[in-house]
Amino acid sequence: MIRFDAAITLGAFSLDAAFEGDAGVVALFGRSGSGKSVTIALIAGLLRPDRGTIELDDRVLVDTAKNFFVPKHARRIGVVYQDAQLFPHLTVRQNLMFGRWFARRAAQTVAFDAVVETLGIGGLLARRPGRLSGGERQRVAIGRALLSSPRLLLMDEPLAALDEERKLEVLPLIERLRDEFKVPIVYVSHAVDEVARLASRVVVMNGGRVVAAGPVDEVFGPSQVHAGESRFGRSSVLTGRIAGTRASYGLTEIAHPSGTIWLAGPAGAAGREVHIVIRATDVTLATTRPQNLSVRTILTGTVATIEQGDGPLAAVTVDLMGHGHLLAMATRMAVDELALKRGDPVFALIKTVALDERSVAVTG
């Protein structure tokens, strides 16, 4: 349980934020310059706030009113940086053992072999960081932080420096850390899909302030959260339950109160709860239930907001039946010709081919 309420001014930038996080993954979400990394530095003890308190579980880490500050080496908070920051003069094994050596034996909560096996880095132990690929380096960095038996793991865009393939190699490992080692994680990212896969709660930051906080599907519903990003960056997250698979076609069926969502690929066992990331550009809207179309996923709901300016595009938020919001990108012309307005019932069509196993994360 982390309680953060602190302010700091660094040159022209000022941060003044308060949020809480519990077990599992809390995501700090926002564009670069929104204050995510400063928040991480404050929690880790790399920066001293001008004002505020930071508490982890029942231990006060910082209280400026009492002039109380726990130095970084006494906090037992592991940090994984975007660019790994492995010690170049030490081997992988020595890097992994570094934090472990300082953690008191009684406080060691994770086993060396288990971590090495989970992260798949057993073959790298004798090597030096310079000879590792980006993905390998990041896995070692995660292992190094984990082996210091931290009470909290801070991950500052750990996948940002990796290409798509490497991301898919590391992301499931972070999910396993969350599930197997039960380490609470604060995860910094500006990628909706990563946050949706990993986090249970999300804190959205902008200009050094918290602008939204809550469960992932609630926060990523309202479209204003992503305002200003390119149309391809905008997505929404739905929560559903795996209903079954259509093995002969290789499809997964996910139940949502507003309709069945079909996924091209495996997702997990039936009955599991999942987050599904749906890009706004993959959603088509219709005012009557369409027939004779190849699209298999048709969700029902009502128009909540229509966001448009002078440009050719409009962003339509649909309140889905049951729960959840779906963001759809359409042309302004289409919105006018369909005469869409707030409260209109609509059908949201999602091409199954746009959704595969990379779009979902099992959360429960």
């Binding site: 790399l46 592991g78 310079g130 932080a145």
Partner: protein, 240 residues
């Protein structure tokens, strides 16, 4: 005749040997005692913010820009038998620098110090601070962080700094001769001996032999420094 000539060229007389041995002894002592202080000063200048930092930087670099004779004279005033500090050290602690080889080592250390600090400081400044931060978050306090991360990564600069200081100490002349004079067997280094031989008739052969020795030592120091730097850049290339 030919053998006598080669003997005259390559065989050092006992006096010359003494000068070579003293030079090495003084230079090694100067380097060994400067090193811990040099690392501390370099770390302070590279990483700490404190009032009077520019002044400290200036004082450390002063011997580099002052005429060596001036530095030697200041040392004599401060640490000579009648100097402010020198009298105190001699009366209370029995430590005497003036006209001793230890004084020569002190003068050489002072002269070599700025070169050493510069090299070490540059290599500390080149270390990504986030590596030190990472060590901190892994539980290492500042002293452990320095010992396990900063110092090993700065090691090439430390070695180069030590070699530069050693080379400077070997060649030091002005400050040494002003502070501790030119006493054969006590404070007469290679440089001072060469100077003495050039002042007496027929001393050229002696001066030439010592010159050859000086060249060999200097070349060896340069080559070691080059090898260390190459290994360092090779190691850096491995993790980029």
């Amino acid at each position: 005749m030919r053998e006598a000539w080669t003997a005259a060229v390559f065989e050092l007389s006992p006096d010359e040997w003494t000068a070579v041995r003293l030079s090495l002894q003084i230079a090694l002592t100067a380097t060994a005692f400067s090193l811990p202080l040099g690392i501390l000063a370099a770390y302070a200048l590279a990483r700490w913010r404190f009032p009077g930092k520019m002044l400290l930087d200036g004082i450390i670099h002063l011997p580099l820009v002052l005429p060596p004779v001036v530095t030697g004279y200041i040392l004599l005033m401060l640490l000579g038998r009648r100097g402010v500090l020198g009298a105190f050290l001699a009366d209370h602690l029995g430590i005497v620098f003036s006209f001793r080889w230890t004084g020569a080592a002190l003068a050489c250390g002072v002269m070599g110090f700025p070169l050493m600090v510069r090299a070490i400081r540059l290599s500390i400044e080149a270390i990504d601070r986030r590596l030190e931060d990472a060590a901190g978050t892994l539980g290492a306090n500042p002293i452990w962080t320095f010992a396990l991360v900063t110092l090993p990564l700065a090691l090439p600069g430390v070695v180069v700094g030590a070699i530069l200081c050693f080379a400077k100490a070997l060649g030091e002349f002005g400050a040494t001769i002003t502070f501790v004079s030119n006493i054969p067997g006590e404070t007469q280094t290679i440089s001072a001996a060469i100077f003495t031989y050039t002042q007496v008739p027929g001393g050229d052969a002696n001066a030439w032999r010592l010159t050859a020795v000086a060249i060999v030592i200097a070349l060896a120091a340069l080559i070691v420094s080059e090898i260390v730097q190459r290994q360092a850049s090779h190691r850096l290339a491995q993790f980029e």
